[in-house]
């Protein structure tokens, strides 16, 4: 079985970001999508803390502690970039001005419900950040996730058991095994990793899958 690594998942997401899109990339694996955007596309990256036109990581020595991304890491601004205060930055998100956001997930349900901010462990403080705003505000919500948890439990389910971030918000899931659209209360498999059978994928999923008629192999470069 040839499951994808994080870089390959990020690469695959990047291929689906169209020219001219305003995109918000969540903390963690979604941040890596920026590294794989095709050179011939102009994409404007938004960061919730007020950056529009966010650029790549600065070269060592050029970091500015006042210029950071949502993950609090140093970044740069592209020519044409702008700064907004927080409330305006979230107006961009909540007001439907962001075309695509890419988020991580604990669980996704077949109706597009997303759980990615709290578990059932009450001993640790929960933190939601901007996830609930992004989930309802972005026109498309793409999720990057492993298909199963580390101990083999499915993350794509009939219904989430963890506290929800938003209901019926996820439009597409990029897992380490497949590319899956969320449409009409079902998971529709569009691409499946090389060497993985539809039965194997179904066994790793907590609910029924629909396989698209034109379902193909999920191809990525070695990364």
């Amino acid at each position: 079985m040839a499951k994808l690594n994080r870089k390959q998942i990020a690469w695959r997401v990047a291929q689906d970001i169209p020219e001219g899109a305003y995109v918000n990339l969540g903390i963690g694996a979604p941040e890596m999508v920026a590294n794989y955007l095709p050179d011939d596309r102009e994409v404007i990256i938004h960061s919730e803390n007020g950056l529009l036109g966010m650029g790549p990581t600065p070269t060592p020595g050029e970091e500015d502690p006042d210029l950071i991304n949502a993950g609090k890491k140093p970044v740069t601004l592209l020519d044409g970039g702008s700064i907004s205060h927080h409330t305006d930055s979230f107006a961009m998100i909540r007001g439907g001005h962001i075309d695509i956001c890419v988020l991580g997930a604990f669980q996704v349900a077949q109706n597009g419900d997303l759980a990615n901010w709290a578990t059932l462990d009450n001993s640790r403080p929960p933190g939601v950040g901007g996830a609930m705003d992004l989930a309802v505000g972005a026109k498309d919500v793409f999720v990057i996730t492993d298909h199963c948890t580390r101990d083999g439990q499915p993350k794509l389910l009939n219904q989430c058991s963890y506290p929800l971030t938003g209901t019926a918000v996820v439009t597409r899931v990029y897992s380490d095994h497949a590319l899956i659209d969320v449409r009409d209360n079902s998971f529709i498999v569009r691409e499946i990793a090389d060497g993985i059978s539809s039965d194997q994928l179904s066994d790793m999923t907590g609910t029924a899958l629909t396989f698209a008629d034109d379902c193909t192999v999920l191809k990525t470069p070695e990364l």
Binding site: S47, E48, N49, G50, L51, D64, P65, D66, L67, I68, K72, L77, I83, S84, H85, H86, T87, F90, I93, R94, A118, S123, R124, P125, P126, G127, V128, G129, G130, A131, M132, D133, V136, G137, P163, L164, T165, G166, T167
Partner: protein, 222 residues
């Protein structure tokens, strides 16, 4: 002559008291008014209610206040940081109350507080645990949650420049919650990198107009 400039922390913090509610700007360490927070610590105030995106980051400001157990409650969107364990420790031990608010809702609630808006409906948090007990209204086919304004007795802000009227500029992503919190507090106290003369800031470049600002103090980063 209007002059909002102050020259020491005692003047900056006039009126501070135990149990005060303080909005503290900053996203992580960017824009965090660490020196103002530490001046509160030095003066012994306790039982503070803090409204801030994060419950501190690293070793400074809010983290110091938390370690000295001066903070009773934090209203925030994301309490923990990758480089401090104190928030987790106090929360797990039942020594810190946390109220988690989605980041955009928190920001908009403060804007409402500063703009005289009695509440607003948002789609954020609908059908999630953070909407429990709140009024939900269907508007044009979508469900929205009613959220109320958020105000505070004090706002602590870090800005780049201030003139004696309290007009402010910021530096990059250190702008953050500053402009919103400045509106939402009874007393807005700003630490700035440098004072400038009235008229030096191009009116088009004033980010927070002085009407929202009560005191400005030049503070060298420590």
């Amino acid at each position: 002559m209007i002059d909002k400039r102050v020259y020491d922390f005692d003047a900056a913090l006039e009126g501070m008291k135990d149990g005060a509610t303080i909005m503290s700007a900053g996203f992580g360490a960017a824009g965090a008014p660490q020196e103002l927070l530490e001046a509160v610590l030095d003066r012994g105030y306790r039982d503070l209610v803090i409204i801030s995106n994060n419950a501190g980051e690293g070793e400074r400001g809010l983290i110091k206040l938390l370690k000295e157990r001066r903070i009773a409650k934090v209203i925030c969107s994301f309490p923990t940081s990758s480089n401090s364990e104190i928030t987790k420790e106090l929360y797990s031990a039942g020594l810190l109350e946390l109220e988690i608010v989605p980041q955009g809702t928190m920001s908009e609630r403060m804007r409402a507080g500063g703009a005289g808006i009695g509440g607003f409906y948002t789609r954020t948090s609908v059908n999630t645990p953070l909407a429990e007990g709140k009024e939900v209204r269907n508007i044009d086919g979508d469900d929205y949650v009613l959220e109320y304004p958020l105000k505070a007795e004090f706002a602590f802000i870090k800005a780049r420049e201030a003139d004696r009227w309290g007009n402010l500029t910021y530096n990059l992503s250190a702008r953050g919650f500053g402009p919103t919190m400045a509106m939402a507090a009874e007393t807005t106290i700003v630490q700035v990198d440098r004072f400038v003369e009235l008229g030096e800031i191009d009116p088009e470049q004033v980010i927070t107009p002085g009407i929202y600002v009560d005191r400005v103090m030049e503070v060298e980063a420590s």
